[in-house]
Symmetry: C2
Subunit: 247 residues, 2 copies
DNA sequence: CCACTGCTTCGGCGCCAGCCGAAGTGTCCG
DNA sequence: CGGACACTTCGGCTGGCGCCGAAGCAGTGG
């Protein structure tokens, strides 16, 4: 009778994500690193053959990409937009009257700090965002965020660089509603650059086989000082590596 | 083996939307108006009893709300966040290499102008957004939008009022990537206010039984003048108010 | 009181989507 | 070469879920 097309579009995408095995695969990839089909099978909790089928569907839909290397096939999310969509969907899980059921103590590590494709999430990321805001380095609002002049100076001094390419459609500083904390953390190009910096400086280290991040003492210190404490001196540009913020 | 909880969370939500009948129901509700169970059955293309089952699931999940009136039950999306999520999901449909297949001529009316819960979308909305931006009334960026002082003046003169309540978590001006046009339109509180104004001034009228909007001659005129034509105010070009670092 | 309408609940049916194991392809290694 | 490994394809099985029609339950109106 009416616009069925939209409904079908919606349903096919959602249906793809709506299978537990595929959802687990996507969640695993939300960690941001490329994983082999075998590893994904473990995460999904199903056999290799079944996983293979799922992966080809995800490929067809363009949600993931693959690169072949020797006898392995490495899978990735096809981009930050996909990761954002997934987190949106997660966040919408308990829009309902279901009272704010914390996700269970088993996920404590995840709630503390985790990677979200190419930026950080969890308590650590939320705290960091608030510190930066309190220091006047960024202005976070519901509709997004902007970097102040003081922020530009700070990030420059720290050697945190993000593409300023205006043509790049990707937000500089996207405010993600944190799935576990229900407060904002920093995504977008700035979020990616912050994550890269945090890994370089060993503020956080990845926990193998999980999205979880372990916050080091250096990380605690940096957070407590709102990043400023960790760079009392303007460090020479030794770190001007290719920062590679997404592509 | 690993964080299954997230995967299940993700899957249950997505699975709910992943059924064609339910997706059609949600799409219909994206029109923004409350509909009865019977009307939704028509939109979904399934029997009343089946529809009833779907609706109770959507209720349980908190995606829709219901209000009982006489022997009718009126259903609504439970909030703008749900609508945003649905459009996000729609937009992600063709992230893949599938070439930008236009949604088919049958949906021409929808592509032209439609309602998106409480704001407008489609070519009309996109054009309007660009007009407003060109006139210096709003600044639209990937990470959101802001209303300039000139914009505040214009909207005030037009009698367009939006809640300025800062405590309100809802974005003032959210940039939605238009699903059909793949350009930005204006959502958030400003988007809602613009839609209300457009309806009041009969720039657009709802097409019954559809999300589609018909653009009237008054609407064309208003658009051509960037809204200003209908309220000839002398506006100082006080742009560049907003600090935008990524410039 | 009864007839009509809108909606939900129930029982039963049928299909499809996901699952697995076995066999097939391609790659690396000794 | 032959064997180990990573992954895909194929065939067959099964359970769940979406579907419907019939019956039950309000609310409305004569």
């Amino acid at each position: 009778m009416t616009h069925f097309a939209s409904g079908i579009t919606l349903a096919t995408t959602a249906n793809l994500i709506g299978d537990v095995a595929r959802a687990n695969i996507l969640c695993a990839l939300t960690g941001g690193r490329a994983l082999t089909a075998g590893e994904l099978a473990l995460h999904a909790g199903v056999s290799a053959s079944t996983t293979s089928g799922h992966l080809s569907k995800l490929l067809d839909a363009g949600l993931v990409t693959v690169v072949k290397q020797g006898r392995h096939r490495y899978f990735r999310l096809s981009g930050p937009r996909v990761a954002d969509m997934l987190e949106t969907l997660m966040g919408a899980a308990d829009l309902g009257p279901t009272r704010h059921r914390p996700v269970g103590p088993r996920d404590e590590a995840l709630r503390r700090a985790r990677s979200c494709y190419d930026h950080m999430a969890g308590r650590f990321a939320v705290d960091l965002a608030e510190r930066l805001q309190a220091g006047g380095f960024v202005v976070l609002s519901d509709e997004g965020g902007t970097v102040t002049e003081a922020g530009s100076a700070l990030f420059g001094a720290l050697g945190i660089e993000f593409q300023t390419d205006k043509a790049n459609r990707r937000p500089l500083c996207r405010c993600c509603l944190d799935w576990s904390e229900r407060r904002f953390h920093i995504g977008g190009r700035l979020g990616a650059a912050l994550f890269a910096h945090a890994e370089r400086e060993k503020w956080v280290v990845r926990v193998s086989g999980s999205r979880a991040l372990r916050v080091t003492r250096a990380g605690e210190t940096a957070l407590a000082g709102g990043l400023v404490g960790s760079a009392p001196v303007a460090l020479p540009q030794t770190r001007r590596r290719n920062v590679r913020v997404s592509a």
